[in-house]
Point group: C2
Chain length 264, copies 2
């Protein structure tokens, strides 16, 4: 570990951290911003990602010693005062623990599916563009042992700063592929022996009436529009029982209930 | 309905809407800010709250006609341009549909419990101060037919702007009382025949092993600290099954799974 003091917010070595509230690094060769000790612990133990650097508030360094002990020896750890770190980030960094990470390589649906065991639970997100929802759905995926997440091309990248933070690092833990249409994902899952279920308020069966098959893929669509008809017409549908008169459920809550029911 | 044009952001009639991003009205005689058409629909049909006024962007008025038709006849509806409304609110009001509401009277634990039927499901929040979590837990409470929510004195007011918004209006729908300690709430629930369950990662029984009693109260604590030992030592505990290695579940996700399991 190399501790490098930073005194100038314009220092090119910390350029990746500039104004992080206003922008994200996603799309730039799979680089992303990780925040907080818990997420850094996940990053340093992740196989599919490499840390590039750390930026930490000087009075947070001691508390981060154990976390940093599991980081690569040559990882640059930039240390700055509150004043400098706020000027770099562009807002008041209350916690002051940041890292830049990079994906080793983007994964495809095929590479994800090839690596799955014979009994596997997969979550499919179609049109989920809200960073909070994607983050909390990854957190649920990790909590309930989901083997992989597939996101269609209209969903947002799980490596957005806010998604990683809300996922408490699960976006760096659960394997995922982003891309293709919902129908292309359904074709690939069908070809690899997955039973597929689309969650919908008007689903045919209640989830509690369905027995878990070995390979199961669960589809979730955005709140409001829901899953597209091309998906609902093609695969079986399932519903979550709700009280009459307020049939409004957050998609992340729906995923928690469904993944918990079908886990293991 | 009285439509009143507002041309001056400093007009005293819209003073309650000033700088709403920076402050909340809670604590001021049970007044609160409701945002968006869906929440306004809930407000106008709520028994325990009265609308005080509406502030709407001029180009949103037509789309709000049906919603406003269920509002009291004498409700002032202030209408302003985007420029004026942004100046009032203190930030860019993309949607531009706001209302001020007021609670008819604050409810106590006793008044809430007296009104409950012989079969009832109650959610108890202890130390949940995050406005997002409180909002999404109310949304779950409404979705799964929870009869009431009791919040201890260290939890946040469900009438915070963000909580109401995240709840999609459920904070105005599900009866609640805020106040007292967790132990005081437990004493009141015990006296009215409730079986009580504290949700905890180290809970004695898995929730799926427990049969729903007629009167059930479910306790949730803040992420991190969890429920205080005074509660865990006093009432039965229950856990939600999770995958090994990532035992981190958002408290709102926990409430969705548990309320769904015990509903009806």
């Amino acid at each position: 570990m190399q501790t490098i003091p930073i005194d100038d917010p314009a220092d090119p070595r910390v350029a990746a951290y500039l104004n992080i509230r206003e922008r994200d690094l996603t799309g730039r060769e799979g680089r992303f911003i990780a925040e907080g000790k818990v997420v850094l612990n996940v990053l340093f133990s992740a196989r599919r990602f490499v840390p590039e650097s750390v930026l930490v508030l000087e009075n947070r360094l001691a508390g981060l010693a154990e976390t940093l002990s599991s980081a690569p020896d040559d990882l640059p750890v930039y240390v700055a005062s509150a004043e400098v770190i706020d000027a770099i980030a562009g807002f008041h960094m209350h916690r002051g623990i940041l890292a830049i990470g990079q994906r080793r390589h983007a994964e495809s649906i095929e590479s994800i599916l090839q690596a799955l065991p014979s009994r596997a639970l997969v979550m499919v997100l179609v049109g989920i563009a809200n960073h909070d929802n994607v983050g909390s759905m990854f957190r649920n995926a990790a909590a309930f042992g989901c083997d992989a997440v597939l996101l269609d091309e209209t969903s947002c990248d799980p490596l957005y700063r806010k998604s990683i933070r809300v996922s408490v690092g699960a976006a760096l833990k659960v394997p995922f592929a982003l891309g293709g249409t919902g129908l292309e994902i359904a074709t690939a899952l069908e070809a690899t022996g997955f039973t597929q279920l689309a969650l919908s308020p008007a689903g045919e069966k209640d989830i509690t009436e369905i027995t878990r098959p070995d390979r199961l893929a669960l589809y979730f669509g955005a709140e409001g529009p829901g899953l597209p008809h091309t998906i609902l017409d093609r695969i079986d549908t399932a519903r979550i029982r709700m009280a009459p008169g307020f049939d409004s459920l957050n998609v992340s809550a729906a995923s928690a209930i469904t993944l918990h029911h079908f886990m293991g």
